[in-house]
């Protein structure tokens, strides 16, 4: 099939800055990817690598001070950044929906969840309030809230964290969006609930053939849900690959470190393996590879020149070491 026609969301050379007075901090430095219909892209990285900021920028929801300094975000070939307020509003929630990190604070505390669901539907369609309510009940059932009809009249504080995230998911799915952006949707939940929510998102995503950008810092989640993985480090994409390839054969030393520090029940180790050092503070001056200070293979060149993104065996990697030792990674 023609891959170009199938691309629903494409991010091109995205740069995002935070401005504090005269001071500018660059948090995302040229991110590019393409998302195909019905596929799931996982964006993985540590805190401060720019993953959430990138997610918010897709809906133009950057907090005050944040601005997109360069690049384009194309939804079905149309640049989101050049849309008028009303065009953008029509896109948000209807075509591009978002689930946020913290379900405890993401719902309006003094509005019944029924109203919050119904207003979403009514903002984009001209159906009657009654129809919208029926749809809301249907959606709540779909995400696994029992007694949906009665619970429509309850307030967020009457639901548990997991249930609230289910409601957020129902809200995102109100209008059958074609792209779902999930910003660490399970981070604020405890582990057993995490698995349930993930399963639910995966099921609903498959059912409606919705494309999704899944932001997470948890690699274990990625294996389950994603088709493709993009690893962010210090505002750069350092590796991008099909999920199977990435797990079977991580190329970038950072990805290797991440996978190496996953805890396995089979291994019996005294210490949890970890990557030495700390991620760079956002806005660290651009010089060389951002991972060089923590990289076991770092050479002189790594500290001086930023490596380009290059394709190797189906991976796109930004690393001098991989470039020079292609044999060690290939077969």
């Amino acid at each position: 099939m023609d891959a170009r026609e199938d691309i629903i969301l494409s991010v091109e050379n995205l740069h995002i800055c935070f401005r504090n007075g005269e001071e500018k901090t660059e948090v995302l430095r040229g991110l590019s990817y393409q998302l195909q219909k019905g596929k799931v892209l996982a964006v993985v990285g540590e805190s401060g690598c720019g993953k959430t900021v990138h997610a918010l920028s897709i809906l133009k929801l950057l907090p005050p001070g944040g601005e997109i300094t360069a690049g384009r975000i194309l939804y079905q070939g149309q640049d989101i950044l050049s849309l008028s307020g009303e065009e953008l509003r029509k896109l948000r929630g209807a075509q591009l929906a978002m689930i946020f990190q913290d379900p405890m604070t993401s719902l309006n505390p003094i509005r019944t969840i029924g109203k919050q669901l119904v207003e979403t539907i009514l903002a984009h369609t001209s159906c009657s309030r009654l129809r919208a309510r029926a749809r809301a009940v249907h959606l709540l059932k779909k995400v696994g809230i029992p007694n949906a009809r009665q619970r429509l009249n309850e307030y967020p504080f009457q639901f548990s964290g997991g249930q609230r995230q289910r409601i957020m998911i129902a809200m995102a799915l109100c209008l059958n969006p074609s792209v779902l952006i999930a910003d660490e949707p399970t981070t604020a939940l405890d582990v057993t609930i995490q698995a349930q929510i993930l399963k639910l998102i995966k099921k609903l995503q498959r059912q409606s053939a919705m494309a999704a950008v899944f932001i997470t810092h948890n690699l274990a989640i990625v294996a389950d849900i994603a088709d493709e993985v993009l690893v962010l480090y210090g505002g750069y994409c350092v590796e991008r690959a099909e999920v199977k390839n990435l797990f079977a054969q991580p190329m970038h030393p950072y990805t290797q470190g991440l996978l190496g520090s996953l805890v396995s029940l089979k291994r019996k180790e005294e210490h949890l393996p970890a990557i030495e050092g700390y991620p760079p503070a956002p806005g660290t001056p651009e010089q060389g590879c951002p991972f060089a200070p923590r990289c076991p293979y770092a050479a002189d060149q790594c500290r001086r020149v930023l490596p380009p993104l290059v394709e190797h065996n189906g991976h796109t990697v930004r690393c001098w070491w991989v470039e020079q030792n292609e044999i060690s990674c290939g077969n």
Partner: protein, 342 residues
Amino acid sequence: MLRYILRRLLLLPLVALGVTFLLFFLTQRLSPEMRASLYIKDPRQMGALEEVIQKYGLRDNVFKQYGRWLSGALQGDLGYSHSANMPVSQAIKEYLPATIQLAVVTIVLVVFFGVWFGVVSAVKKDKWQDVCARLISVGGFSLPIFVLGLLLLMLFYGKLGWFPPGGYSVSTDVIVHSPAFHSYTGFLLIDALLNGNFKVFLDVLRHLVLPAVTLCIGSFALMVRVMRSSMLEELGKDYVRTARAKGLPEHAVVYRHAGKNAVIPVITLAGIQFIRLLGGTVIVETIFDYPGIGRFGVTAAQQLDIAGIMGFSLMVAVLFVLGNLVSDVLYTAVDPRIKLSD
């Protein structure tokens, strides 16, 4: 909820008891002779001083005297106010409705403009609208109410002649006190409408405008500030981002979502300000010659009208408790998370 209200109402007598006893105790600091002299209008009758002291038992123990006042108060007799030349209870009945009327109109203006300016100020933070709203509110806050009142009087009565300087028109006074005019509520605005007398209604309204505007400018500054900071806080919250991400129009995000949450602290403030208005419109009532309860309280204090002072403070205490209760109940109406526990 009902039990909560009942419990609070049960506390009311205790508060009233405390306030009145403290005040009564303070008035006892005046010697019996001084208090007795207040009953005597003519200096030539000073010889009757001892007689008055005996008659009213002014030398008795504080508790005994307070007990006498209290038993009277419990039977609805708050004593005779010589500053108002009528029984205290009648004075309250006559003057309080006018003040409540003024306070209600004022608080409605304050809340409406305070919330509106506060929201605009927050949404347009650091833009010219915000600067204007802040300038107006700081100006209103720092201008003493008597200066403001006099300025408004000079402008709208003296120069433009749009509004009357004070006191109801003679025709209104005549109509209101005629037997044909039924006093249903004591509130002239409502009574005039109920009597179908539109002329009286308009006259009363015209007399309300300047005092209400003066009071409003004085207290709305605080409202704007509270609303602005509350609104700024709410606008930064996650659920506002969710509302935008859902594709709601901006006015729905600002008013329906952030605004409703931001208005919660304003309710407390409005409650406090309303009660303060009831007891503290003295200056405005004096400037605009408005027949309200504040003026009665001040005259009573100036003339050492002990019965008047006691009655006035008892009324303020009761209103204070009731006002707080009302704002507590209002909370539950706005915020579902708050349940008044039994």
